[in-house]
Symmetry: C2
Subunit: 441 residues, 2 copies
């Protein structure tokens, strides 16, 4: 048969259930779907294809999955750092959001984020923000795959001045985007158990169940939150959410840092998913999530970068690397989060945690062709003994050469071919000048 596209002449890291690695191989794509993953090098006769992408002896692997983002916050990266959490939020981030977040800035910030993600090999993200309609339109225009949640909070928020309409606004968003775009799944994102009432959380989860969509919520992020929740509910954030009946397999708990053994058992029993945002949690000094224990308990864990104001990067290669290293030193055990485990967190496990593992997260026949190619002809990736080790510990987003989503080439030879990068950078810089000006007033 003739394929639409083949990617050849590279080491294929499949991240399938056997962790198969093909020393040299070819990925064959038709109708946006992976049809074959063939072993063999360029000496073999190649199948016919409309497009032949040469991996140049590099690594062919699944696109990365970033399970926690606030995309428009790229506009606030570096606006304020190294501050106590509440000072940072209340004196810098919240005022900047109140003053500057509107449909235009949401689009600009989202396009900046997508450009950064695509250029660094992320093909899928899971987001939550306000004006999510405008996030969705921008993401759709870039060709990325995403689960997108309209934010719900019991305070006036950008685009939702009346909090009594917060759940309704989110439900309207879900209705509008359900089935509207092949690569976008709508979701509901309750901010947290300390900023949403039990009634809000329960109503939102009910609507998520009705729509069959992912329910996201920040939970157990800081020690202060846990004290506040204990005062209010007499228990932990996880137990409080469980008592509200919102923990099930379609709930994604974001952070889950301050959790105990009972919380872990509850999360595992309910089959809820967890996303950890290592670098953001380190930078904000929130704490260290017990990833090793969660995995041991059978919980599906994904990794996310969080918003760019608190990370300050969306490079999932850095996230993998730092997560693996942090948990080794935290447990004083170098065998914790081995490279293959860290890679799974950012690919197949990430996809599983947001309900997309049938479509993406590994290079397997029948999955959508979300594929990236790393250029390994670089000093820091030479020699190459173990491609999984290099992916996790040595590579970075800048090593990404080609990116395909649904079989469409979106980055070729490090160039974004699906977007006008210069225009995005100009609009981003202009928004930055307005934000910096507003701050100085």
């Amino acid at each position: 048969m003739t394929y639409d596209c083949i990617i050849t002449n590279g080491t294929v890291v499949t991240v399938n259930s056997n962790h198969d690695v093909l020393a040299t191989g070819t990925v064959c794509i038709a109708d946006g779907t992976i049809r074959q993953v063939l072993p063999g090098g360029p000496a073999n006769s190649l199948p016919d294809a409309g497009t032949v992408l040469d991996a140049g002896g590099g690594i062919i692997m699944p696109g990365l999955v970033n399970t926690h983002t606030h995309l428009p916050m790229t506009l606030f990266r570096g606006l304020a750092d190294d501050l106590p959490l509440m000072t940072w939020l209340s004196e810098h981030i919240f005022p900047a959001e109140a003053r500057h977040i509107d449909p235009d800035t949401v689009r600009t910030g989202t396009l900046l984020a997508c450009a950064e993600m695509l250029l660094s090999g992320t093909t899928t993200c899971c987001d939550g923000y306000f004006y999510e309609d405008h996030v969705a339109k921008a993401v759709r225009d870039t060709g990325m795959r995403a689960v997108l949640g309209q934010g719900i909070i019991d305070f006036p928020a950008p685009g939702v001045p009346d909090p009594s309409r917060n759940v309704e606004t989110a439900v309207e968003f879900v209705r509008r985007w359900n089935g509207a775009s092949a690569r976008i799944l709508p979701s509901l994102f309750c901010h947290s158990p300390y900023t949403c009432s039990p009634d809000t959380i329960k109503a939102a989860k009910e609507k998520a169940r009705e729509a069959g969509c992912l329910f996201q919520i920040h939970a157990a992020e800081t020690h202060a939150e846990c004290l506040q929740i204990r005062e209010k509910f007499g228990t932990s954030p996880i137990q409080a959410l469980d008592a509200m009946g919102v923990l099930d397999q379609d709930t994604l708990l974001v952070h889950a840092i301050w959790i105990d053994e009972r919380d872990i058992e509850t999360i595992a029993a309910r089959k809820s998913k967890v996303t950890v945002a290592t670098q953001s949690e380190m930078k904000l000094a929130s704490g260290i999530a017990p990833i090793a224990r969660l995995l041991e308990a059978g919980v599906t864990v994904g990794l996310g970068t969080d918003g760019s104001a608190s990370n300050n990067s969306m490079d999932m290669f850095c996230e993998m690397d730092m997560t693996a290293k942090l948990h080794k030193v935290h447990n004083l055990d170098p065998t914790v989060l081995a490279a293959s485990c860290a890679l799974a967190l950012c690919t197949i496990d990430g996809a599983r945690s947001i309900g997309l593992s049938e479509l993406t997260g590994s290079l397997e026949v029948g999955k959508r062709a979300d594929v990236i190619v790393l250029d390994t002809a670089k000093p820091r990736l030479t020699p190459l003994y173990n491609p999984v080790s290099h992916i996790v510990y040595a590579a970075c987003g800048a090593d990404v050469r080609h990116v395909l989503i649904d079989g469409q080439v979106l980055v070729r030879d490090r160039e974004l071919i699906s977007m006008d990068l210069r225009d995005i950078l100009e609009k981003g810089a202009a928004a930055g000048r307005r934000i910096a000006g507003g701050r100085r007033q």
Copy 2:
């Protein structure tokens, strides 16, 4: 006057004692020395110069200083990971060194390391290994600035089969390289207080004092080492070294993880320097050095990447970022190691810790022109509110566009112009094939 070279049209981050940042500025260079750091943009009339390097609106900053490397170990990157320390060392690294380290592989590995460092903005390193003569020749050929220490260990080692000649061999190295090259300072590197006897350590330090050179030693790296030293000497590694009389201002303690308050006071009182290798220490699960306390006590601290087999990257931007974030979460305080402090560790403090702060580590008139330029026209560096925040938390080595050492342009528009990169990569890959073959036998 006419300068040899000016670097213009960029934000100048000086890392001088005032942490001055010039929103736009020009660095003027003659005879390899910084002669002026002028404020003002491209609209101003520029001084005459032989070469005008356009920073393109990016960041002009000092080259980074990597204070702990084992350069030839680039050849072992990814050979073995995620193993208990002693298994990793005794079953993988030591056998690979015994089998494969010779003058040729040392040259190849060193050139790979220098290519990686230069391309990612590191202009100075401080190394320790065996066959250091061959390390020195390779480093000299690349144009990098370095302090290079011949390794001393009380066991047969590559190039030093008879350990009774270890100090003598190192002294010969120092004699040969003292004054032989403007950019290379020789040093002595005793491996550690658990692999070198007190006699060896004292003799080596005496020779270092005679030669006026830096004395390096790994110390207090693991908890197991501390137990071993306590059994042997009845005290901590730092106190044992102090009792041997080797702690002074020209001693660089590498790691210093398992140290207590008394050790910190001793290090501060002796004015000894400390280098921390955050990522390597995380990956090997050695522990977390008390950097915040050391700085508070007035100790000069630098950051290093360690050998590539245990990091597995020599990108000092990652090292800065991960160090700042690790110490925030470790102390549960986001104000710890603020961006300007993290940047200083990798520039002026690093230079100070290896005795080079008169020459490099900041952009100041009279210093040698070790300068790098970052390209900020990228999604993850747009908008730019605070260049120091972006340097530490958002940039990576791949953002480095130009690199100058002693005023010589070694990297221009991301291309290594001082070295034949293709040849280095080919030789590195060939060495890797031999090492992988040797492992499979």
